[in-house]
Amino acid sequence: MELSYFNYFQYAALISSLIFFKGLRRYQASAMIPLMLVVCIVETLSKILKAYYGFTNNHFLYNIYIVSSTPLYFYMFYNFLDPKGKFKKIYVGVSLSVTILFFYNLFFFEGFFRFNTLAIIFQQFFTTLLSVFLLFRLATSQAYFKLSSHPYFWIAAGILIFSMGTLVVLGLNQYIRINNLTIVNKSLYRAIMPVLNVILYSSFTYAFYLCAQKKKLYLPL
């Protein structure tokens, strides 16, 4: 079984989330641990199934990742943003509706064995929106702190950059596969996704490290 280089960054993020567990809890970012677990389990299972059982289609695994990571992302941003009043109701309503729709899409629309393009585009759209919202709240808060020293900044920044890149690649996933679009003899998907994954999980790892720092910074509550 051969691991890709970006897999090591995913494992590093998982390990650091476990090591800095207390810091993550302090910053209400505990949802990152199950999220990292889901990422690593899906990636590892995908490699095992391909290497030892000859699976050529592992889309069902990534579809499971999409439906399981979506509520985790929503929960994580819920803790970060701490919505109040009307916004809280809207947030919970939208989160539940989107999660239910993703499950419906998995079982009754796009299906289990076809890559759920619609779901991933919507997931990227919502995580981008929430990241931008979180970054705005951090940047406009009245507290005195350096933005780049705040773990939320690195989590939101990683997600934002990743989403910007993947929106196109994952949205055109079927098109890229059918037309066999390649760059330097590699599928476009396989060439771009690892780079974006490295950016995402490096920023997560750094954010987890910042969570463990003793000085607690302003939380946008």
């Binding site: 931008v132 970054l135 705005f136 951090l138 940047a139 406009t140 009245q142 507290a143 005195y144 702190f145 350096k146 933005l147 780049s148 920044a157 934002l160 950059i161 910007m164 890149g165 929106l167 196109v168 690649v169 055109l172 890229i176 037309n179 066999n180 679009l181 390649t182 760059i183 476009l188 771009i192």
Partner: protein
């Protein structure tokens, strides 16, 4: 039909542009945060300076009050009571009405002075009475010495916050002390007026005056610097007009609101 290379190139360009925009957005936020931090830091510093000045001013007023009490007890109440005691010792077994009245008047004066002293013990008087009544009281104390005639004009019903009032009161107190020490004046005038939208407090004396150019070289310069920095803390600036034998005018000018 476009070639595959063209499509791949377009997709990559779109991704690069999107990622670049995201990075630019993050950089813009970080810069905004840096600017805001500088502003927050400056505001905190101003607040800290204001609190420090306020604390110093309160301590100085307290010290001034204690000095005043000490002087009053020693020079006034003490003297009156000693005189009353002397009077009682010299009284015969059947004192006349005149002697009793005299002693009674002495004791009444001592009681009045003590009452007045107990009022001045309250260092929060500016907060309780307000700025203008406190200034009037201060002028009354100067008038009581018999050395000065004092005048007070408030054309605008001047109002100021308690904390700023304490600092402004201390500035006026310092200026008046300087008049007593150095000016050889017989008249002191305090005017509060509004000129071209600016509130101005003028403290005018008819004393010996001085050469303002030489002020830097003598000890008085330090006092003026203290007053100037205090004025800055409450958002005002200080200006000084003086000529030899022409008296002195100190103006505290508040910035436009």
């Amino acid at each position: 039909m476009r070639s595959k290379e063209e499509i791949v190139f377009t997709i990559i360009i779109v991704i690069v542009i999107l990622v670049f925009l995201a990075i630019m957005f993050l950089v813009a936020l970080a810069r905004h945060n840096q600017r805001r931090n500088t502003l927050v830091f400056e505001n905190q510093q101003i607040k800290k300076d204001f609190e420090q000045t306020l604390l110093n001013t309160r301590l100085e007023i307290q010290e001034q009050t204690l000095n005043h009490i000490s002087t009053e007890i020693h020079d006034n109440i003490g003297q009156v009571l000693s005189l009353a005691r002397l009077q009682l010792n010299t009284l015969s077994t059947n004192p006349g009405e005149k002697d009793i009245d005299y002693t009674d008047n002495l004791l009444e004066k001592a009681i009045t002075d003590l009452r007045s002293l107990s009022h001045s013990l309250n260092t929060n008087s500016i907060k309780e009475k307000g700025f203008t009544p406190s200034v009037l009281k201060l002028l009354e104390q100067f008038e009581k010495t018999g050395k000065f005639k004092t005048f007070f004009y408030d054309e605008i019903n001047f109002d100021i916050s308690d904390d700023q009032g304490i600092i402004l009161f201390r500035i006026i107190q310092e200026v008046l002390n300087n008049i007593v020490k150095h000016a050889q004046a017989t008249e002191i005038q305090i005017r509060i007026e509004e000129i071209e939208g600016k509130k101005i407090i003028s403290i005018i004396d008819n004393g010996s005056g001085f050469d303002t150019k030489k002020i830097e070289s003598i000890n008085q310069g330090i006092g003026i610097k203290n007053i100037t920095s205090r004025a800055l803390v409450i958002g005002a600036k200080l200006s000084l007009f003086s000529q030899l034998n022409q008296g002195t005018t100190v103006r505290i000018i508040f910035k436009n609101e």
